[in-house]
Subunit: 206 residues, 2 copies
Amino acid sequence: MSEKLTLGVAARLSTYLRILTQSRKQGLQSISSQEISEYANVNPTQVRRDLSTFGKFGKRGVGYNVDSLLNQIQGILHTGGVHSLALVGAGNLGTAIVTSSIFKDHGFGIAAVFDRDPARIGEKVGDLIIEDAANIALRCKELGVVLGVLAVPPESAQWAADQLVAGGTKIIFNYTETLLSVPEDVTIHTINPAEEMLYALYFYLT
Amino acid sequence: MSEKLTLGVAARLSTYLRILTQSRKQGLQSISSQEISEYANVNPTQVRRDLSTFGKFGKRGVGYNVDSLLNQIQGILHTGGVHSLALVGAGNLGTAIVTSSIFKDHGFGIAAVFDRDPARIGEKVGDLIIEDAANIALRCKELGVVLGVLAVPPESAQWAADQLVAGGTKIIFNYTETLLSVPEDVTIHTINPAEEMLYALYFYLT
């Protein structure tokens, strides 16, 4: 598979990867398309179709081998290895992000955490020392980071995004509700639970 | 429009609603399909097609009226009004959720927050008093809550989900990586930033 995946397939494979990563962590050795389907909120036929496209057939009654399917999907998504990210904001959300294993489990390492609050700079959060947000651009260049995460108050979001962009960041995960302006070669992914709730609520109400 | 929307349309309309809600908050009165497109990471033709389906045409050079489009999409998604949710977990993530305005801005009110830690019960977080997680089922019934949010450690997630289900919750937003088992009439939405990062990284790398 060298051709580019469609948005939908890439999104579903990312979901399967998340489920397989967690299954492995919970000690499961095999998983059925039915189980993947339930955890992914994707219908089982779609799951089997997605996986069979890549020549991977689960054994009837046994299911897919978790490790092997996981490696195969990582290969398709080119997302094996460790990817560094820079986190801006060491408040409640930032601290939750640093201390969660979710990123690490999926190969994302937090290379640096920044805050503007002089009282916080130099403090420890998880295994990291909070750095001065004034140095974001410089440090991102040094670290070669292309992924940034914004966990700052909404009014600081554009400023923080500008610093990340100046440091060479190409993908920014925006946990604030602020609508950000960035150059064309930078992608913003807004993480807004309210949006997902509206979506879920629609299907519940209709 | 009384027929049910497809998954894709409902997802995009939820995204547009998030963008319009924030545009209004930032004081914008009109917005172009190009701007919606950029904030939503959806191509402009798709945005115009989605919106024209519902008989709403933006004026060339002026764009869409934010308030009117927002009301119209709320009508289509049946998501106007206020929806109560129960939050389990008052740690860093739970506190970030309670103190953020993101939910409130979109019509989601946090009706109750629960924790298992005796030291936290009775403490104030935002405007709420942390309640004993032992009472989740009882309190959710009293409050008539159908939306639950899990912001607990992974090892408590299944227990907390069981309590929410016992209390009548039908949609659970799971911020933990734990794969949850729930009855068929309950939907789990897993909020996992790593999954979104894998997806974004694929498009960046290819």
